[in-house]
């Protein structure tokens, strides 16, 4: 099946693309450095799409495909929510919804020494940062930020965790603040931890608040920002 090759790079930007679409033809653009993000791959002289999504372009030369999936592709410096599956001598085995299980070194905590190793049982929810993510190996995690401080990483107690798609997690972490969280934040007080791997944890003083906030977040995936505000206000009227 032959596809029409787009000679000019800007024809597909911000459009939905499917695997096999040719985005750029490098033979027509000599001597340029292009940076490719997720979802694109280089096949000799053309750049084709690997995953279906929307093509995005950032000046001067960055292209990537924005897509939303249920599974996560580990990338360095992402903050994710993992569930501890097993404990080994040197590492905790943590599931982060990716293709391979991730390792969390036992010493990767602030002030971690061999004497004060934390005891995580199977099933503990942890908020961690991805340190290494190479295609063939298991990703490595850490409970400290780049300078070695704890910075809110670590186990999360109480509360309620639910799974969503990676696109929804990115929207919740975008700036300006996501409309749903902003509207709820004006009237209710709650804590939320968003993992870029599609897991969200919500905690509040009363279970009713936790339920309202979780349901609102799950429903807000396909709504525009005005619709999200309207939905949030309607739910708040019912709660109070």
């Amino acid at each position: 099946m032959e596809d029409k090759s787009s000679g000019s790079p800007s024809s597909l930007v911000d459009q939905p693309v499917v695997p096999g679409d040719v985005v750029l033809d490098l033979s027509t653009m000599p001597n340029q450095t292009i940076k490719l993000g997720g979802g694109l791959r280089q096949d000799a002289d053309v750049i084709t799409v690997m995953k279906a999504g929307r093509l995005r372009f950032l000046k001067p030369n960055k292209y990537w495909v924005e897509s939303s999936q249920k599974r996560y592709v580990p990338r360095v410096d992402d903050n994710v929510l993992g569930i501890v599956v097993d404990t080994k001598a040197d590492n905790f085995l943590v599931d982060i919804k990716g293709p391979a299980i991730a390792f969390l070194p036992v010493l990767a905590f602030e002030g971690g020494t061999r004497r004060n190793i934390p005891k995580f049982e199977a099933g503990t929810l942890v908020y961690v940062r991805v340190v290494k993510a190479n295609p063939g190996t298991n990703p490595e995690l850490s409970c400290t930020d780049a300078s070695g401080k704890a910075a809110e990483f670590g186990p999360l107690k109480d509360g309620f965790m639910f799974e969503c798609s990676t696109g929804l997690s990115r929207m919740m972490l975008s700036s300006p603040t996501c409309p749903v969280l902003e509207e709820f934040g004006k009237k209710l007080s709650f804590e939320v931890a968003v993992g870029l791997n599609g897991r969200v944890w919500v905690n509040a003083a009363s279970p009713a608040t936790v339920i309202v906030v979780s349901n609102a977040i799950m429903k807000s995936e396909s709504l525009s920002s005005t619709q999200q505000r309207i939905m949030a206000r309607k739910l708040l009227e019912k709660v109070q």
Binding site: M1, D3, P19, G20, M50, K51, A52, R71, P99, G136
Partner: protein
């Protein structure tokens, strides 16, 4: 010379297509594809860690399970599984996630002819929904040779049964 098909289509005309994705809650990717009355549901799970013993650990492994509408899986289902596995291996980029397994489960909801191409289309849509990296999309169509010597596309079950060659 016009050939008369039972439902009044011309020899090159396809039945109406319908596709929806994201229908199964727990699967990582899912799609349903229907051509006329033939309907197939495909679910994708993965990539998950670990490959089977005989498979190359440097590449991703694809596993296909075909569930017929009624009865147990037999030789016909195994043949469909093998054909689908070869097709999907040629469109997936296998070197991106080495040592992982992606499982694709096909469930036949209704069979009214042209079943294997419908399943290939459904599996490709489900892989796109799950975000598995693909080189390009796969499209398939069924054609059969009627007894009068004409080639007709997208046969129904009745036409398949009287055709000379499928």
């Amino acid at each position: 010379m016009e050939i008369d098909r039972i439902d009044g289509r011309s020899p090159n005309q396809l039945r109406p297509l319908a596709c929806s994705r994201g229908i199964l809650n727990r699967a990582h990717g899912s799609a349903s594809w229907s051509q006329g009355d033939t309907k197939v549901l495909a679910a994708v799970y993965g990539p998950k860690a670990g490959t089977k013993k005989n498979e190359n650990p440097e590449r991703a492994c694809i596993e296909v399970i075909w569930k017929p509408k009624t009865g147990q899986s037999g030789k016909q289902e195994k043949e469909y599984e093998m054909i689908l596995k070869r097709t999907l291996q040629s469109i997936c980029i296998l070197t991106i996630n080495p040592n992982t397994t992606t499982s694709i489960i096909i469930q036949v909801v209704q069979d009214d002819g042209s079943l294997l191409p419908c399943a290939i289309n459904a599996a490709c849509a489900a892989l796109v929904d799950a975000g598995i990296p693909l080189k390009h999309l796969a499209v398939s169509i069924c054609c059969c040779l009627a007894s009068s010597g004409y080639v007709i596309l997208d046969p129904t079950k009745q036409e398949e049964e009287v055709s000379v060659f499928l």
